[in-house]
Subunit: 363 residues, 2 copies
DNA sequence: CTGAAAGCGCTAACAA
DNA sequence: TTGTTAGCGCTTTCAG
């Protein structure tokens, strides 16, 4: 995908690319204006800094005239209170860190919506980090979190990143705690129940050769109870033999799903249904299958996981296991609030999100 | 309400007032564990606080043994350095605020991806705010920004919110500066060029009765050069009479587009093409039109704006004016960096993003 | 209504 | 290698 192409003739923005190359130090711009402090404003207006503070903070114990004069001077001088100095004194400025895998995967904006809304209700700020599910990046972000926020709400794949996050002194909530111990705060999405309902639906419709398109990122994550394992388990319970090559790893994207589907078809054209790691992969797979001449669901049925609204846009609309992603985000923030309130990790009430089978038309 | 002027740019009282209205204290959890400080760790380990600082910050001038001992104690005591105290001393911790209209509109995650990436390269944190394009919310968020971040990168619709944002002392970049003065830092998306190319494409294909589905949020925004005005302008230039009822306001969502399309069709079934405010509205409209029995593009053609990747999922794939949203986010951060580096607002180089017509199949 | 003093928790610069 | 001394910029007492 060549979206960001600054060399494109019509992109005036090109020069910025060079500007960045220019090589200035990344976070300390040169020529930085020194900060205007409250003392300078006080001096300029001939009052004490307390009086300036009163004006800025709209306190009542101040002459309205003085107040206005100070405000004007402050404005003119370019004064803005330092959040650090303020935060040091007041103990109620809370910032949480939200760690997601990929903003471009519609799953995460929905979770984010829930987190932002819940945080806003509490007057909290939300700093967002994107990991791309890379192990190195996850570890890096966890480190960052310890320095920058009061609590973390995170979607983490890699075992060591999770270990690091939960071992520290930072209140930490996992957006998908999977099969981890009860004492690890977080929301559990009942993938097992979901996968079971989904696969049994397919089996009930007569499917036996059911392929699985897995997220390749999980291959290295050492996570317990992956969707792939659940697939194997449920198939096994129903006595349906699984050819190991029915399982194809896919990059977690529409294109990834398409590519994996093509690989699958070239080896096993006889599968009658596809159980995908998620909707993105399912959509890509279904699109490619149709492009390759298969009829959906007659020749091959597709079952997604997540319940993204874009599943309704494709043809035929995608049957999927819907997760209430917004609620997921809200619950995580509520748990973070409890932790921040002093509740110990093992007192946090258990929270489970149950995926719902939504039958549309692809399976 | 307040005595004097809480709307004054340097006055931060506005949001405190809201907090008080809330009744319960929203951000101070009860039972809060008191913060463990560096002095406590120093005392517990029998060293000076400076030595603790050295251990925590991984400095070299310290006995590895002492270091480990301190680290263990710190960990056991639940010590975590205060970002406020740190920020006060070190001047290189930068946080920017990203203000978007709606996380659930795929346009914004793409912009966000660009912003996050550019910010990360600089080691900056990004706090995200969602306004829903509500005027009240935009004003509130702008206030918040003044308190909480070092620079703002914002998508703002309402004139007064923009005025407030740019009047203050905070480096501020608009993600869509529209037709505003050159001295207002921000990126200009050339909607006029885009709209012209798009409409001329439709006209060139023989369309004369071209409807416009506008974003209803703009009705109250007092923004210059809206897409609606451009539509009127270009149609006028081509001597094509426009029935004012061809313009339907829509909520900025797929459902909004669908509803608006239904309204449009009930009054003007004879339109042969729809120029939508954006892809979301276009997709909703097209879906509904097809559900109502119209063939696309034979009975009615659809042209979107934004170039969202979900436009490729619908049938027929959506013809659209593609905006490089990721690049938009990146450029905005680069401008913020210049501002933060001390460059004055009118020195910021002009940046324009040129929408590209992508002909798929809906028009 | 206004000011002076006392820290919030940390790190940089210098001494030891 | 470690400790001491100064602040960073602000708000919260408590006096005037």
């Amino acid at each position: 995908m060549a979206l960001a192409d600054p060399s494109h003739p019509t992109c005036t923005a090109a020069r910025y690319a060079e500007g960045v190359q220019g090589g200035y130090s990344p976070n300390v711009p040169t020529n930085r204006k020194p900060r205007v402090t409250i003392d300078q404003v006080a001096q300029a207006t001939g009052v004490s800094r307390q009086t300036v503070s009163r004006a800025i903070n709209n306190k009542t114990e101040i002459d309205p005239e003085t107040r206005q004069r100070i405000l004007d001077a402050a404005q003119a001088m370019g004064y803005r209170p330092s959040r650090f100095a303020r935060g040091l004194v007041r103990q109620d400025l809370i910032t949480i860190g939200l760690v997601i895998a990929d903003v471009l995967n519609p799953f995460f904006p929905e979770v984010t919506a829930g987190v932002l809304e819940a945080a806003e209700r509490r007057g909290w700020q939300v700093v967002v980090y994107n990991t791309g599910s890379e192990r190195r990046k996850e570890l890096e972000v966890v480190d960052m979190l310890f320095d920058q926020v009061d609590a973390g709400v995170a979607f983490l794949l890699h075992h060591d990143a999770i270990a690091k996050a939960t071992a520290g002194n930072l209140p930490f909530v996992l957006l998908d705690k999977g099969g981890r111990a009860p004492a690890v705060p977080g929301v559990r999405i009942d993938f097992e129940g979901g996968a079971r309902r989904g696969l049994e639906y397919l089996i009930g419709r007569g499917h036996r050769r059911i392929a699985m398109l897995d997220d390749e990122a999980y291959l290295s994550a050492e996570a317990p109870n992956t969707r792939r394992e659940l697939y194997l388990k449920v198939m096994g319970e129903h006595g349906i033999p699984v050819d190991i090559n029915w399982i194809q790893p896919a990059h977690n994207s529409i294109d990834g799903g398409a590519a994996a589907m093509e690989r699958l078809l070239s080896a096993h054209r006889d599968v009658t249904a596809v159980f995908a790691y998620n909707d993105l992969i399912a959509i890509g797979a279904q699109l490619r299958a149709r492009a390759l001449g298969l009829r959906v669901p007659e020749d091959c049925a597709f079952l997604g996981f997540d319940g993204l609204s874009i599943g309704e846009l494709v043809e035929p609309p995608l049957t999927t296991l819907h997760i209430d992603k917004r609620r997921l985000g809200e619950i995580a923030v509520e748990q973070a609030a409890l932790l921040l309130g002093g509740m110990s990790e093992d007192e946090i009430p258990e929270a489970v999100i149950e995926p719902q089978l939504i039958v549309r038309a692809s399976a």
